[in-house]
Symmetry: C2
């Protein structure tokens, strides 16, 4: 059996949260990132954060998908997201 994998759910507040997220991705955590509240406050900043999130996921070989309107899912290489359709409902 491999070592424990951690799953962390969090809400992003502003662009500075990207550093913690990148660290968590690098550590191989499963992340459920809630972006809804920031979308209402700072859509421009959120777009930048999401671009960096996708880039970081790609660099680490992580899988990534939207989860409904509010959340983004990031998983380390060992965890594969089951995608019956592109966006998860």
């Amino acid at each position: 059996m491999a070592e424990t994998i951690y799953l962390k759910a969090m809400t992003v507040r502003d662009h500075t949260d990207i550093d913690m997220i990148k660290k968590d991705i690098k550590m191989g955590m499963i992340l459920i990132v809630r972006v809804g509240p920031m979308a209402q406050r700072d859509l421009q900043g959120l777009r930048k954060l999401v671009d960096e999130l996708y880039a970081a996921a790609r660099t680490e070989g992580a899988d990534i998908a939207r989860l409904g309107e509010e959340r983004i899912l990031v998983t380390p290489a060992i965890v594969q997201i089951w995608k019956p359709q592109y966006d998860l409902k």
Copy 2:
């Protein structure tokens, strides 16, 4: 490295979905179960389904937590849910 772990997001429609969910838990999948739509249609049936879901998770040594208002998260023993507070936001 251990074998791949699958993460599956799904929406429950009615009580018959519990069989598929139990099978997925037994297979060691990570599940994100969206219960919101059923809550509006059949709250009684949903309560029964959620009770069975918690019982099945306990039997398999899975971890379980709410994810916002709409979703329930179930993870196999190898995946631990990071819980800064009881309910994840």
